[in-house]
């Protein structure tokens, strides 16, 4: 892995992580991660459960202070100049609470105002986002009454509202229905085509294979492989390559004879 501050075309990478480290008790959740996400890329972060994906993304977005290392957003250190860096990113965390007694529409409205947008713009954007994400019918329901998939979608809308340059999404497709997932995928593709960058974590190989141009495989807090899809897969299907990199038992049928006979 190289750490050029500038990529080939001279633009700072959308996201650059340098020796990021985070330890909880005795367990190193993230153990010195180095990563470069070039601007304009659709980047996947894959790994088994507990690999450190959420911890990494939290440190990259200013939600969790690293024990060591840096996280640069378009060259700006998010822990040194948080306001500047945060203005450029949209974040979708996994499983966090929101102001639950607001309706979906209100959530977007007040978040937009908090971000300094004017009311007219917020209303327009909120309506557009609710429409595209198929939340228009339920915009008057409390966020606390949303299903898991709907919560994902409204949080995605929150992350898009201020028109960021980089989207950092933690498990954006989890629990989302196939129709909405397809809508989100095409939305994200268009976002990248129009010059935006996306980093998202997932443990569903098909999704990553389908969407990403580059990716990193994380396991036990370390990067096992990173680069373009072509480089990482080395001619094999991603799933096979993933299991190879992460390591793990295959099979197990024999033990469950009472179930499988």
């Amino acid at each position: 892995m190289t750490f050029n501050k500038q990529t080939a075309d001279g633009q700072a990478p959308a996201l650059q992580l340098q020796s990021l480290r985070k330890t909880f008790g005795k367990n190193a959740a993230v153990d010195g991660i180095d990563l470069v996400v070039p601007a304009g890329s659709f980047f996947g972060l894959v790994g088994p459960n507990g690999a450190g994906k959420t911890t990494t993304l939290s440190m990259a977005t200013g939600l969790l202070r690293p024990d060591a290392g840096k996280a640069l957003v378009f060259g700006t250190d998010i822990w040194r100049s948080p306001a500047q860096a945060k203005a450029m990113i949209g974040v979708l965390p996994d499983g966090l609470s929101m102001p639950e007694r607001l309706t979906g529409k209100e959530l977007l409205f007040y978040t937009g105002l908090l971000r300094g947008l004017d009311e007219q713009t917020v209303n327009k954007r909120a309506d557009d986002l609710l429409g595209v994400l198929d939340l228009a019918d339920t915009e008057d329901r409390f966020v606390s009454d949303y299903s898991t998939g709907m919560r994902k979608k409204i949080a995605l809308a929150v992350s898009l509202l201020h028109r960021p340059n980089l989207l950092v999404l933690d498990e954006p497709f989890e629990a989302v229905d196939p129709v909405s997932a397809s809508v989100i995928k095409s939305l994200l593709r268009k976002f990248v085509e129009s010059g935006g960058s996306v980093v998202f974590s997932s443990h569903v190989m098909e999704t990553v294979e389908q969407l990403c141009d580059s990716l990193a495989v994380v396991a036990k807090g370390k990067i096992k492989a990173a680069g373009t899809m072509y480089e990482v897969c080395a001619g094999k299907p991603l799933e096979e390559r993933f299991i190879e990199l992460v390591g793990g038992p295959i099979g197990g049928k024999e033990e469950l004879t009472w179930l499988l006979s």
Binding site: T23, F24, R65, A85, E100, E106, T111, D140, R141, F142
Partner: protein, 641 residues
């Protein structure tokens, strides 16, 4: 099935015999045993005639039942080890589930403690009669226990369904506020000509006490004693029938609880109401004000705290007023503001991990804190002013208006600063809003925070209050109004200064607060201190609770015991008699030194003061030593990473 549930309960009980759970168990056992002691002391070992003991016993059983009914609401004490939700996917009827859960709850500390208390009935039976009543008393005790368990479950279940609307939140908090206030100033009512009232009512009261089911067990024993076997059996059968009916009612409640989706009985649909006057609040701060105001009006748990503060403070001053002592009335509003501040001082904790939304929005900390402060004032201030004027008027104490206004203004300003400051410096993580219900069961208050915030507020109110009071004492009306004006200045100062401290803290350690929120509300208290603090770099300091929980049970006991004994020795047994003696004597009350021969009085006071200081000193030094240890542990963990 019932046996399996009991085994599950016992397994959980075994597993909980470690760490801080053991500590909590110890303290609840101590509390329970104290209650049992009082039951024996007043109920059966009192030195009145048997007939009086009988009435007292009836009253005590009534109190135990009320404790079982309101305990879960007051102390968040619903038995959480086995929840009906755990059995949602198991194919059993709700009736069987009710019987199973009730049987399982027999194997717990509260049931055991209550059983000990109800054994007073056996003692009573032996005291009053012979073998016959003693035999009847045994099934009567068991039925009494089953009765309180079942009635508690049914009432708790009903309240659970009730505390879900603004109106029912008002109602339940009125009840809770009235009860809590009664413990503080309710005894003023006893100063009424109680003997006369009791004389007039005694017939009716006695009848009522005899008629209510809490007393049927005693009736059964009495009947057996008199040889009225049919009556005795009738009472026992009546209790059994009642338990059976309560179980049926609980089964119905359980069925409703488990089939209404995840505790959300209805779809809540709201029209956006952005056309209100709150449109005046513009910009990022305005956005937070409007968002928060909505949260106050829709989150019944949050608004419930304010209702509680209102009713608590109103009852607190109303009880003495009814007894003919209206002196407290003008301070109702200030008490309301203080109680509301204490109860809502965990604003960020109540929002849970939603803090991430402020963290990802650049430069939003100021707007977030100021917006919350303004919204808090919008909720509390109008009520406080109405209360101030109304109570001064009702009490007919016009002279107290400047003083009352002074305390209200200063308290409002101070509270609007303290609620945000406390919630960022001493954050108590709570269950995320979408994972908890609307009721108080999932939302207990931290008593320590409550008390300290109220005390801090009292200190903040003191300077302008002293000014106005001086004006009042000297009879200078202009000085009183200067004091009132000064209280506005102080209030604004508190709002700005304390708010700024909170903003600074949020800017500096927002991520640590989020981390604390995410990882402290998981049930791993033993490991959580170094884990969360590790990342915090001393930005998040260990709270008093965290340090206490890391002490062994014996140390906890020693520390609290020494603290209490020290306080009692120092203040009521040392300093108070000292003052009384200096003033030339007076009421001896329970001051030990004043009962001594006069040459021993000074030495006893000296011993009390010195002993008290020693005991407090020991408690404080033990606490500080542990704190040092915890801090060192945190530093070590940080150094390792």
């Amino acid at each position: 099935m019932v046996a399996v549930m009991i085994r599950m309960k016992l397994a959980m009980f075994r597993n909980s015999l470690q760490g801080d759970y053991l500590g909590r168990l110890f303290w609840s056992a101590m509390f329970g045993l104290a209650a049992v002691y009082f039951t024996y002391h007043f109920g059966v070992f009192g030195n009145g005639p048997v007939l009086v003991n009988r009435e007292k016993l009836a009253l005590l059983y009534g109190i135990w039942t009320i404790g079982w009914i309101f305990g879960p609401v007051l102390f968040s004490g619903e038995d959480k080890t086995l929840l009906p939700e755990h059995y949602r996917s198991v194919p059993i009827s709700s009736g069987l589930l009710a019987r199973g859960l009730l049987s399982a709850s027999l194997f717990g500390m509260p049931a055991f403690v209550s059983l000990l208390a109800f054994v007073t009935l056996v003692v009573y039976a032996v005291q009053t009669g012979g073998i016959a009543s003693a035999i009847v008393s045994i099934p009567a005790v068991l039925l009494q226990l089953l009765f309180v368990l079942a009635v508690s479950r049914v009432v708790t279940g009903l309240l659970r369904r009730l505390v879900r609307s603004q109106a029912s939140s008002v109602l339940s908090n009125a009840v809770v506020g009235a009860i809590m206030a009664f413990f503080v100033t309710g005894w003023f009512l006893l100063a009424l000509d109680f003997g006369q009232i009791a004389g007039e009512l005694s017939g009716a009261v006695a009848f009522l006490l005899n008629a209510v089911p809490t007393n049927w067990a005693i009736q059964a024993v009495d009947a057996a004693e008199d040889g009225r076997w049919a009556h005795a059996l009738g009472y026992l059968a009546g209790m059994a029938l009642l338990v059976w009916l309560l179980l049926g009612a609980w089964a119905v409640l359980l069925r409703k609880r488990l089939t209404s989706s995840a505790g959300k009985p209805r779809l809540r649909v709201r029209r956006a109401n952005r056309g209100s006057v709150f449109r005046l609040f513009a910009g990022p701060v305005g956005a937070v004000v409007r968002k928060e105001r909505i949260a106050w009006s829709r989150d019944y748990t949050r608004s419930g705290f304010v209702y509680f503060a209102l009713f608590y403070s109103v009852f607190l001053t109303a009880y003495p007023a009814v007894a003919g002592i209206p002196a407290g009335l003008p301070w109702t509003a200030a008490l309301f503001v203080m109680t509301a501040a204490g109860a809502t001082a965990n604003l960020y904790g109540a929002d849970g991990s939603a803090l991430w939304m402020s963290l990802v929005a650049p430069r939003s900390e100021r707007a977030d804190v100021r917006g919350r402060q303004i919204a808090w004032l919008i909720v509390v201030a109008p009520v406080a002013f109405v209360l101030t004027v109304a109570t001064v008027w009702i009490g007919g104490q016009g002279w107290s208006l400047p003083l009352a206004l002074t305390s209200t203004f200063a308290a409002l300003g101070g509270a609007s600063g303290l609620v945000v400051l406390n919630s960022v410096y001493r954050l108590q993580p709570m269950i995320d809003a979408h994972k908890r219900g609307d009721d108080m069961f999932d939302h207990p208050l931290s008593g320590w925070q409550f008390i300290t915030v109220m005390l801090a507020l009292a200190i903040l109110v003191a300077p302008p209050f002293a000014l106005t009071l001086t004006g009042l004492r000297l009879g200078l009306e202009w000085l009183q109004w200067v004091g009132t004006a000064a209280s506005i200045g102080f209030g604004v100062l508190y709002y700005r200064w304390l708010g700024r401290l909170a903003i600074k803290k949020l800017e500096k350690s927002g991520p640590e607060l989020l981390h604390l929120m995410l990882h402290m509300n998981k049930a791993t208290p033993a490991d959580s201190v170094p884990d969360s603090a590790n990342s915090a770099d001393s930005a998040v300091k260990p709270t008093v609770e965290m340090i206490m929980m890391r002490l062994s049970v014996a140390d906890q006991f020693r520390l609290i015991f020494c603290g209490w004994i020290g306080m009692i020795a120092l203040i009521p047994q040392g300093l108070v008699p000292l003052v009384i003696k200096l003033q030339g004597g007076g009421e001896r009350s329970w001051f030990l030194a004043l009962y001594m021969p006069s040459r021993w009085q000074w030495p006893v006071i000296g011993i009390m003061v010195c002993g008290g200081l020693l005991a407090i000193g020991y408690a404080v030094s033990a606490f500080l030593a542990k704190k040092k240890e915890v801090l060192k542990e945190i530093a070590d963990r940080s150094a390792k990473t």
